[in-house]
């Protein structure tokens, strides 16, 4: 085998490389206040390491056609009206809260990814260096004594 063919194109690897399984130690501790703002009290704490956001979730929110504001005189503001107002106000609040939560989560995960990527880049550099040294030694050997 010559140095140039260290990795034959038709190698018989048992399993394809799955980026999901590759782990690199990342020392990342998000601000607990931020974490609290990104987690729903009833559910598990938000984990930036595991939670990905799909394209679907990142799309800008669809513009819903809003009904024009029609002025309602006070005498028409009966109970039914106020019940409807209350219902809509609650829904609007839920919507705003959900949106805020989502944006916080994305921000934390982005910050985590920045750290992870920097660690990954370091790992790549280390591996390349290591590989270079080995191939160099191999080349020197093969130069003197022919292919392995």
């Amino acid at each position: 085998i010559s140095v140039g063919q260290i990795l034959p194109a038709n190698r018989n690897t048992p399993s394809p490389i799955d980026p999901e399984t590759i782990q690199v130690p990342v020392g990342y501790e998000p601000d607990p206040a931020d974490l609290a703002l990104s987690s729903i009290p009833g559910q598990e704490m938000f984990d930036p390491r595991k939670r990905k956001f799909s394209e679907e979730e990142l799309k800008p929110q669809p513009m819903i056609k809003k009904a024009r504001k029609v002025f309602i005189p006070d005498d028409l503001k009966d109970d039914k009206y106020w019940a409807r107002r209350r219902k809509n106000n609650m829904a609007a609040k839920r919507s705003r809260d959900a949106r805020r939560l989502k944006e916080n989560q994305i921000a934390i995960r982005a910050s985590f990814l920045e750290k992870e990527n920097s660690a990954l880049r370091q790992e790549v550099a280390d591996l390349r260096k290591e590989l270079g040294k080995c191939k160099n030694v191999l080349a020197k050997y093969e130069a003197r004594h022919g292919p392995l």
């Binding site: 990795l7 982005a110 990814l113 920045e114 990527n117 990954l120 591996l127 004594h145 392995l148």
Partner: protein
């Protein structure tokens, strides 16, 4: 009567100012979110590609060390008993084995 017209005028002006300010604020919020999403997406892509590269490189390292290990067993320089010239230190090759 004159006064109430003035008041209405002021009210209308204030409402319009607030409407415009609200519109500006909403626009700012969406732009901020869009920018964040863009950055996030590029980070995810970079993340995946880096992991893929690490996988490739580690595979290459494994393969290389296997090749070297196999060679060590049959290396003429290490095994020939009639060899009086200086034998290349085995550590030179074996030191390449992964950490």
């Amino acid at each position: 009567v004159f006064q109430s017209h003035e008041e209405d005028d002021r009210k209308v002006r204030r409402r319009e100012k607030n409407r415009v300010a609200a519109q500006r604020s909403r626009k700012k919020q969406t732009q901020k979110a869009d920018k964040l999403h863009e950055e996030y997406e590029s980070l995810e892509q970079e993340n995946t590609s880096l992991k893929r590269e690490i996988g490739k490189l580690t595979d290459e390292m494994k393969h290389l060390s296997e090749v070297l290990k196999d060679h060590e067993k049959i290396c003429p320089l290490l095994h020939c008993t009639m060899n009086f010239v200086t034998v290349p230190r085995p550590d030179a090759l074996a030191s390449c084995l992964p950490r």
